[in-house]
C-alpha cells in the first residue's frame, strides 16, 4: 500500500499533527510505502510535482490542527492546489481515499467535528473518496507524552482512534471508517485545564513576562487614536 500523509500544521515537524502521523505509521507497521508532505514547507516553496506524487498513492491522510473551528488557511490553499492538480491527474480516476486526523487544543474532540465535515465536503467537491476521520481533543498532549506507550495510560483512547484509521487504510483499497471518531486523552477536564495554565505561564516566564502580562489589552489604546 502506498500512503501519502499531509502534515497540515503550520508548525511543521514540531507539531501535534506530525505526531499523529508518526503514531499512525507505528499503528500500520512496516511493509508500506509512505510519502509525508509538509504543507507549510509547500507554502514556502511550492512544488507541483509533489502533488502528482501524492495523487498516485492509494490513500491520503490529512492531519491538521483546528484553527478557529476549521482548517488553517494555509492548509486550505494547499488542498485547493491539490484539488486542481488531481483533477488532471490520476487520484480522482482511481478513487483515492482520503482520511482526516484533526486535533485541537481544547479538551473535547467534538471541537473537530465541523472540520471533519469540511474535509468531507472538500472530497465531495473534487471527486475524491471521503473515508472518514478522527477528531482529537487535548491535542497539546500529543507531543508532551509522545514517549509513553501508545496503547495504555492516557494515550489509549487516542491510539484506539488512530488504530481504527490504520486498520481501515490497510484492510483493502475500498475500506473506510464507519463513522468519525471524536476522542481525547484519558485525563480529566480540570487536570487538562490546569496543565494548560502551567504551560502558558512557563512559556511566558521563559520570555521574561509575568503572569499579569498575559492579560494585557494593547488594542484598547487604539480607541483614543481613532477618536
Amino acid at each position: 500500500m502506498r500512503i501519502a500523509a499531509i502534515n497540515g500544521s503550520p508548525r511543521g515537524e514540531e507539531s501535534d499533527s506530525r505526531e499523529l502521523i508518526t503514531t499512525l505509521q507505528g499503528a500500520i507497521g512496516k511493509g508500506h510505502e509512505w510519502l509525508i508532505v509538509s504543507q507549510i514547507q509547500q507554502e514556502r516553496n511550492p512544488n507541483d510535482s509533489i502533488l502528482d506524487t501524492i495523487s498516485t498513492c492509494d490513500a491520503l491522510v490529512v492531519a491538521f490542527p483546528v484553527y478557529m473551528d476549521a482548517l488553517p488557511a494555509s492548509l486550505m490553499r494547499f488542498l485547493g492546489r491539490y484539488a486542481a492538480r488531481s483533477a488532471r491527474s490520476g487520484a480522482i480516476r482511481r478513487g483515492q481515499r482520503v482520511f482526516a486526523m484533526a486535533n485541537c487544543g481544547f479538551y473535547e474532540g467534538e471541537h473537530c467535528e465541523v472540520s471533519l465535515d469540511i474535509m468531507r465536503r472538500y472530497c465531495e467537491s473534487c471527486g475524491l473518496v471521503w473515508a472518514g476521520g478522527i477528531g482529537v481533543g487535548t491535542g497539546e498532549m500529543l507531543r508532551k507524552i509522545k514517549t509513553r506507550r501508545p496503547d495504555s495510560g492516557p494515550k489509549k483512547p487516542v491510539y484506539r482512534a488512530v488504530k481504527a484509521v490504520a486498520n481501515a487504510i490497510v484492510l483493502d483499497k475500498n475500506a473506510r471508517l464507519i463513522e468519525n471518531i471524536l476522542t481525547h486523552h484519558g485525563v480529566s477536564w480540570s487536570a487538562y485545564r490546569r496543565a494548560g495554565d502551567r504551560e502558558w505561564k512557563a512559556r511566558m516566564r521563559k520570555n521574561g513576562l509575568k503572569k499579569k502580562d498575559a492579560l494585557a489589552r494593547p488594542l484598547e489604546a487604539l480607541i483614543k487614536t481613532r477618536s
Binding site: 500544521s9 471541537h111 467535528e113 469540511i118 465536503r121 494548560g196 495554565d197
Partner: protein, 185 residues
C-alpha cells in the same frame, strides 16, 4: 464590522445591502479582503506568550483587521462558501484574531473555550453564498455556529445562506431582513 471580498460580484452585491442595514443600526465599518492576502497564522502562540495581545508576524492586513474589529459589537462575514467554510482569503483574516483571545480556558455551553481578552468577543454573523451542494450549506451553518459559540452566543439564526442556484441579487431583500432582525436582538 463587515468583512467581505470586493473581488467577487456576489459579495459586492450582498455587502452593499448589508452595509445599508448596518448603517441604520449604528456605526458601520467595512473591511475588504481583496486589498491584500495576509500571512496565514502559524499557530506559534507568540501573541499569548511573547507579545500578549499582539501578533508577532510582520504587520500586514491581518494585524489591521484585528485592530479594527476587536471592539465591534458584531462582525458580519460575507463569504463565498468553500467546502462548507469561509473562502481561503476570508479564513486567512479570521485566523488572525487569535490575539484577541486569552490562553486560559473556560467552559462555555458545556465545552472548553478560550477566554476573550477584552471581556467579550464580537457576535459573529455569517452570510454565505456560492455553495456547490445543500450539504455544503449545512456545513457552513454548523461552522458559523461553532464560531459564534466561542463567545457563548449560540444563535441558530446567525447565518444567512444564499441557496445553491439562487441569485444573490434576488435575495438581497431577504438578506437585509435577516441582518435587521439579528442586529435588533
Amino acid at each position: 464590522m463587515l468583512l467581505y471580498d470586493s473581488g467577487d460580484d456576489d459579495a459586492r452585491v450582498l455587502h452593499s445591502t448589508l452595509r445599508a442595514v448596518a448603517n441604520k443600526a449604528g456605526e458601520a465599518y467595512s473591511f475588504d479582503v481583496s486589498r491584500e492576502l495576509p500571512a496565514a497564522c502559524v499557530g506559534c502562540f507568540g501573541c499569548w506568550t511573547k507579545t500578549p495581545g499582539l501578533c508577532v508576524l510582520p504587520r500586514d492586513g491581518g494585524t489591521v483587521y484585528a485592530e479594527k474589529s476587536w471592539d465591534a459589537d458584531y462582525i458580519v462575514t460575507v463569504s463565498r462558501i468553500l467546502w462548507g467554510a469561509f473562502s481561503m482569503p476570508i479564513k486567512a483574516y479570521t485566523d488572525r484574531l487569535l490575539p484577541t483571545m486569552l490562553p486560559g480556558f473556560k467552559r462555555i455551553n458545556g465545552m472548553m473555550r478560550h477566554r476573550p481578552r477584552y471581556g467579550r468577543i464580537p457576535i459573529l454573523l455569517a452570510c454565505g453564498y456560492g455553495a456547490s451542494s445543500t450539504a455544503e450549506e449545512k456545513t457552513f451553518c454548523d461552522f458559523a455556529r461553532a464560531q459564534r459559540d466561542q463567545g457563548g452566543v449560540s444563535r441558530e439564526s446567525g447565518s444567512f445562506v444564499v441557496p445553491r442556484g439562487a441569485s444573490a441579487q434576488a435575495l438581497c431583500g431577504d438578506c437585509a431582513k435577516w441582518l435587521g432582525k439579528e442586529l435588533a436582538k
